[in-house]
């Protein structure tokens, strides 16, 4: 039972990571393969404050969210100058640099990492096992709420315009740099909180926990579930995090699984298994419509689309969002 609780806690933390990357990549269209860097910055901020300054979990958690958000905004700055494929390379570079700093700067504990973190306490009661799982799930719910709220705001609409066409976004009065920075900051802040939870759950952290391969894993969860949706990243994270724990065969080849998922989804179902126009999601909606008496259900899909997503064919642009190459010429020929 303890093992299951532990696995579910990790899955919840990774669901937050997937949802936070979804804000950057799914909403604002900025493909990042360096998301583990923000995860790491949050974890190290929280761990250093706890170990070196003696902070308890709660203020350290808040600090991790804020510091990572600011780092996100700063690390987003270089991305203003690059688009598409080059952005992917730049974010990868950021990931490697951040991990190298953790590893080679003594202040961050070097390769030995940071150990001896305490579990959070609330009213004198230490959160472990189910208690910590409840905390992780609560943060996941908060992240879901933030994701949903942001999507419905003018900023959420601005993110969508930046994703769809940067020139047209500017022509609508949207400052593309400003909203890219917003997306980086919000995305990073949420991932920073996940890092803090992770650090205090494990009790010790090491630079390699936040390596580039983890970024690939997070991206594959988002893409597997369905980029741009809320359900997709959550389901993607739970499936791809739990599967390797219980299937020995898969567990030994975890990163092969993540890479393979990315390739297969891009080829056969770029909108993800639960994307608005995916095979599975349409079947589920059809089942739901038959099971539910009365009028046609309101589309439960992305709030951005008021049309019934089951009715219209998948426009090519949906896949283009995660395929940086496809967009390049579109915007270059203007």
């Amino acid at each position: 039972m303890g093992y299951l609780v532990s696995v579910m806690t990790f899955a919840s933390i990774w669901a937050v990571l997937a949802l936070s990357l979804n804000i950057l990549t799914g909403y604002a269209g900025q493909v990042s393969l360096g998301h583990a860097a923000f995860f790491g910055i949050g974890a190290y901020t929280s761990a250093l404050l706890a170990v070196k300054a003696g902070w308890s979990f709660w203020p350290a958690f808040v600090a991790a969210v804020l510091v990572t958000g600011i780092c996100g905004a700063l690390l987003g700055l270089p991305s203003l100058r690059v688009r598409h494929d080059f952005l992917v390379l730049a974010t990868m570079g950021v990931n490697f640099v951040v991990v190298a700093v953790f590893k080679y700067v003594d202040f961050f504990g070097g390769a030995l990492g940071i150990v001896g973190l305490q579990k959070p306490q609330i009213f004198g009661w230490t959160l472990r096992g189910w208690g910590f799982l409840a905390l992780a799930v609560a943060y996941l719910l908060l992240t879901l709420w933030v994701s949903d709220y942001v999507r419905r705001t003018w900023a959420g609409l601005a993110f969508a315009t930046v994703r769809e066409d940067e020139d047209a976004a500017e022509a609508m009065g949207v400052s593309v740099p400003r909203f890219k920075i917003y997306a980086f900051a919000i995305s990073a802040a949420l991932a920073g909180g996940a890092g803090s939870l992770y650090a205090h759950f494990l009790g010790s952290i090491f630079p390699d926990h936040f390596a580039f391969v983890e970024s690939i894993g997070i991206m594959s969860m988002v893409v597997f579930g369905g980029l741009g949706t809320l359900r997709g990243p959550v389901v993607g994270a739970f499936v791809l995090k739990i599967l390797p724990e219980y299937l020995r065969v898969v567990g030994d080849y975890r990163y092969t699984l993540y890479g393979g998922v990315l390739v297969l989804m891009m080829l056969f179902q770029p909108q993800g298994i639960l994307g608005d126009n995916s095979w599975l999601w349409k079947r589920l909606q059809a089942l739901y419509a038959r099971w539910r008496p009365g009028p046609q259900p309101r589309p439960t899909s992305r709030a951005l689309s008021a049309a019934n997503p089951g009715d219209d064919p998948a426009p090519a642009s949906r896949s283009g969002r995660v395929n940086p190459g496809e967009r390049t010429h579109e915007s270059e020929n203007s």
Binding site: T161, R178, A306, A307, S334
Partner: protein
């Protein structure tokens, strides 16, 4: 109407844009007057779209100035120029394909909120915003497509969507980049009526046009560009008779022009 006494709302002074050795726009000075429909015509490569991109901030001038309502706007970013009240369409349409037609227009209605922190708090699907978006869709005749994903519209409707989005900025000046291109005869006529209607509401219009008959019938005044320079300027009738214009368009045998 008497354009001579009307106010100047946009003025370019010796506006130039060079691409390497190519002088795409070369010392172009002209004025746009309040309430007129001004046409910018010229053969392919004359620099028309470059002038549009300079005014709307998508390109920075190599030299020269642009003033809008008395203030310099060269050097401003496109989003700042849009918020000042210059709406533009794109010759190669750039819809937000994955959003609905209504959301495409809503995106423009948010223009004065984007620089504020209210953008992060306020929901965009507010009844008043939706009402305004729907009214604009009605003006351009896209009401029945409000909930359709923009990426699925045919080109004729996308050109109208471009105009609808620009109208959402509540523009003082509207830049139309070849809005008639690729439209059927019937659609071109509807477009002409729409543009006249907008002018009657007080919006000044600057349009780039390839469709000669459309431009001649619609514009109060026409500027002809050729190889980055202004070749002629005047009312459509004078432009049609201008030998330099006829030569630029048709080569030396001006006879064809009488058809």
């Amino acid at each position: 109407m008497s354009p001579k006494t009307a106010d100047v709302i946009l003025e370019t002074h010796r506006l130039s844009r060079h691409f390497g050795g190519l002088r795409a726009v070369d010392q172009v000075s002209f004025q746009v007057r309040q309430g007129e429909i001004l046409g910018l015509i010229g053969p392919n490569g004359a620099g028309k779209t470059t002038v549009f991109n300079l005014i709307s901030g998508f390109l920075k001038p190599t030299a020269g100035t642009i003033h809008f309502q008395g203030r310099p706007i060269h050097g401003l970013r496109p989003n700042a120029i849009a918020r000042l009240g210059i709406g533009r369409t794109f010759q190669i349409v750039k819809p937000f394909s994955d959003l609905t037609v209504r959301e495409n227009v809503l995106a423009g209605l948010g223009h004065d909120l984007y620089p504020t922190l209210r953008a992060l708090r306020e929901h965009y699907l507010r009844p008043d915003a939706v009402r305004r978006a729907d009214r604009i869709l009605e003006v351009v005749g896209l009401s029945e497509y409000a909930d359709v994903r923009a990426g699925t519209l045919p080109i004729g409707l996308l050109r109208r969507l471009e105009i609808a989005r620009a109208l959402a900025l509540e523009p003082v000046l509207l830049l139309l980049d070849e809005s008639a291109a690729g439209l059927t005869h019937h659609e071109v006529e509807a477009l002409g009526a729409l543009v006249r209607g907008l002018r009657d509401q007080g919006i000044t219009i600057l349009l780039v046009e390839h469709n000669m008959r459309f431009a001649m019938g619609l514009c109060d005044r026409i500027i002809v560009l050729n190889q980055g320079r202004i070749l002629a300027e005047g009312p459509p009738e004078a432009i049609q008779r201008n030998p330099k214009v006829i030569e630029a368009y048709l080569g030396h045998s001006g006879r064809v022009a009488h058809r």
